[in-house]
Amino acid sequence: MSDESHIEPTTMQNSEPQSTAKTRLIIALTVLGIALSYFLFTAFQSAQVYYYTVGEVVTNKPHAELVRVNGNLVADSFTRISGETEARFELTDGSTKLLMIYDGIIPDLFFNPHSEIVAEGQYYEEGTFHVDDILVKCPSKYTGEVTEST
């Protein structure tokens, strides 16, 4: 039978257990702090690379993966055989050049000397880059056009 005469003393003033709840909160916040700072630390160090430079692609030769490469168009390197859609051009990061092969629509700003071009595609062993998509990075200097300015 249940021991009905036994009454546990109820000394449940919240001082002691409340402090363990506080301890757990502090532990959780500490873990959060450490995790976030580690995350920030690595983010500063490397983190995700949205695109490579031309030099990086040529030296690393990323095989069998879709990469983005960033560079400027080499002046007068753009060629397209008339009647065909396939275009060839070169991108440069200032020192290295890379031959790109692309079959598709060229955006308006592609030939602007200030534009940086981002090409998405695959690098092939023989030193060419087969482009699937072209993005033009907008210039970071905004200046008025002399001829049209009022």
């Binding site: 249940s2 546990e8 919240n14 002691e16 257990p17 409340q18």
Partner: protein, 233 residues
């Protein structure tokens, strides 16, 4: 002395609970002393179940404070819940577990020493020993209720809150439950709701009458009887 005797067992301080379209409790002030057994009666919608849930700390009141042994139930540590046993409309049992598994689980969470012995003891009390190894989903409503009662007092709480423990029980089990409540749990503080006033009245020391307008009247059992006779005559 411990808090238990220094403070009222249960203290509702200006407690209101409003749902969106209705108000279940309104400015309720009650004090329940240790060892008092209170029957809460009233028509449907007078807030009986809400009162049980609010005192048990399962529902936060819209306004007011509930103290159990002097400690605000919503600011106390989880440990404080060991003093409370609550049975609501739902028995709080896992359907795919057997009775024994359910009791073992809750016994462990309530940190009951020697759980398996305690289960046998409590199964005797409610004569559910033969049901312990059946899945809850296969039990009848009345047997679930008995198992729920066993779960409610497995940790030997000092404050026991029962929402219609008698619903769905046959005459025999009613008798048994009455005996358990009246004798075994004599020294406990009990709040109990019931539609079956004739069954419940002999078990309690006080009566709280709630109306659909959320008026509350707390009387001792003797006062209740004299009021009742007055109304009859």
């Amino acid at each position: 002395m411990t808090n238990q005797f220094k403070y009222a067992a249960i203290e509702c301080d200006n407690v209101s609970k409003h749902y969106i379209s209705e108000r279940a409790l309104d400015h309720l002030d009650i004090n329940i002393k240790t060892g008092e057994r209170l029957l809460v009666i009233g028509p449907n919608g007078s807030g009986k179940s809400t009162l049980i849930n609010v005192i048990g700390g399962l529902i936060r009141p819209t306004k007011g404070i509930i103290r159990i042994h002097g400690v605000d139930i919503h600011k106390s540590s989880p440990e404080h819940r060991k003093t409370i046993g609550i049975l609501t409309h739902r028995p709080f049992l896992y359907e795919d577990f057997t009775g024994r598994e359910n009791l073992t689980f809750f016994g462990k969470l309530f940190n009951v020493p020697n759980v398996s012995y305690r289960i046998e003891e409590i199964a005797d009390l409610f004569t559910i020993g033969h049901l312990l190894d059946r899945r809850v989903s296969l039990l009848s409503h009345g047997n679930r209720k008995r198992l729920g009662m066993a779960r409610t007092i497995i940790h030997d709480p000092n404050v026991i809150l029962l929402d219609e423990p008698d619903s769905g029980l046959d005459a025999h089990s009613l008798d048994e439950l009455g005996q358990t409540l009246g004798q075994t749990l004599q020294s406990k503080t009990i709040v109990l709701t019931s539609h079956n006033v004739d069954w419940a009245l002999p078990l309690v020391t006080d009566v709280l009458q709630l109306s659909t307008r959320q008026e509350a009247l707390k009387t001792s059992i003797r006062e209740y009887h004299s009021l009742h006779e007055l109304r009859k005559s």
